[in-house]
Symmetry: C2
């Protein structure tokens, strides 16, 4: 029977949504508003790409999905915090995210900042407590905390966002394609990479497998971002955010610099590369293969 990627993604998304609902802190009375704003953004849906990649990477090497889930959810919490902060007035000043008003438009700017801050702290706390509870070794948890912190911090996502803001200030005509690629590698690539490697680590992947899966993640991550930027220009489905954001913000993007056709060619090349990297893996890596192919031709 052929692998049904649409059903796979839906089933995993539902699994992740339920796990997030359980693993997110729930309110005592004095915390009502802060927790409400955290849950508002995390539970607003979204594709759950990062946690699904973590689960699929675990699957590829035989991990127990119950043991992968805390890391998968921690990464999604950190991803959500970064969206909340990126949308702030002093950053991209966006009004819509995941199809609903951005956090600060609903809860105000100070609560939005604090909701992001709390999601970042809570993600690490939950990952450790829930990982240990599910029998992940302390040593493994330390490695994953270290990897995620590096991917999220001043050598990863946060620096990527700073670079994004700096490139936007520099104006589209002074920015080069390698700078845009570097920005994406930091801003979204690092967290996508750690999603894959965290899942694989928990499944007991060896160094050789981890290295290959990291390259797979880098190819998928850049292809994903290029297609995101193409869809921002010519997409037709419901993106859950405003279209034309990049142009309005004066952002340098891959399609903006290289043109739509060249960007599509590049995304296809990256997709083929990602699938090729998986050749040494057995049938359990089928989900990772299908995810790369699906992301390579998505239209929303």
């Amino acid at each position: 029977m052929a692998f049904d990627i649409i059903n796979y993604l839906r089933a995993k998304r539902e699994l992740v949504d339920r796990a997030l609902d359980t693993l997110l802190p729930d309110g005592g009375e004095s915390q009502a508003r802060l927790l409400e704003s955290m849950r508002y953004s995390v539970l607003a849906g979204g594709k759950r790409l990062r946690p699904i990649l973590a689960l699929a990477a675990g699957e590829a090497v035989g991990a127990d999905p119950e043991k992968v889930m805390p890391a998968a959810c921690a990464i999604e919490m950190i991803h959500t915090y970064s969206l909340i902060h990126d949308d702030l007035p002093s950053m991209d000043d966006d009004a819509l995210r995941r199809g609903i008003p951005t956090n600060h438009r609903v809860f105000g700017e100070s609560t939005a900042i604090l909701a992001g801050d709390a999601l970042l702290s809570d993600a690490f706390g939950m990952l450790v407590a829930e990982g240990l509870r599910r029998g992940v070794s302390a040593r493994m948890i330390c490695e994953i905390v270290s990897d995620i912190a590096e991917a999220a911090g001043s050598r990863g996502m946060t620096e990527g966002q700073a670079m994004d803001l700096a490139l936007t200030l520099a104006g589209t005509k002074d920015v080069t394609l390698p700078q845009v690629e570097r920005m994406h590698a930091l801003k979204t690539g690092a967290m996508i990479r750690v999603s894959v490697t965290a899942g694989a680590r928990i499944g007991g992947a060896d160094e050789n497998q981890l290295e290959k899966l990291a390259s797979y993640a880098d190819a998928v991550g850049l292809a994903y971002q290029i297609i995101d930027d193409i869809l921002d220009i010519e997409g037709e489905g419901d993106l859950g955010k405003e279209r034309g954001n990049d142009e309005r913000h004066g952002k340098s993007t891959y399609p903006g610099l290289a043109g739509i056709e060249e960007s599509k060619r590049k995304a296809s090349e990256l997709t083929r590369k990602a699938v090729g990297i998986l050749e040494g893996f057995d049938h359990r890596a089928e989900a990772l293969r299908q995810i790369a192919l699906y992301l390579g031709c998505r239209n929303h």
Copy 2:
């Protein structure tokens, strides 16, 4: 020879300042601005109360200070991130901190938000990597990451800041003393408590010792905050920030609600309580004793 608390604090502060300088990430060229803003705020000085408490608590139970230092510095990085975010225009909108312009006044609001975010991520990453390197067990590091994340997150410091903002909005006449105590326990108390318990844990403290030291920390933390608020009203020395901040911001404080004299009495009572709790500890707890006494009568 009598214990010289002034020299003790200076020596430890210098040790912490040097460790922070080493343990903070240093810049590649593309990261220059973000890292510069992180280092600007962390290395601006400050009393280093939290890391010194961690070192002194470790000392009280015979910890190797080299092993305590990563946790001590991680806590100071997280404390600094919270100061950067608390000072933002949408929060307290402060211009001065630790005697110099606040982060956002120098680097702009978006960089200040990202500097805080990066310090929080980097703190956890550094704590794990540097802790393991110095021979702290993975299990111990997990416990400390978990404790710090809880103290910093939605059940600790971040919720305390949200409560502070909410109480300020509520106006001084509708706020009660128990609410102010609860706010302080979350906003500053939780991180002061984890400073003490992290140091003690690394020194191998048993559950009974940890519980006593946590009570010591709670008493010292509240006394510290009450005196901070008294100094904001009638202090004469250089506080490193603007005086009269609380009144200007319409903040409910302990002295504002209970009066200066009652607040001084309460601070003394808490100091005596803190010293009393240490009675079961030997001479190695002398620094903790002296710190409580020193903080109980400080004038800056």
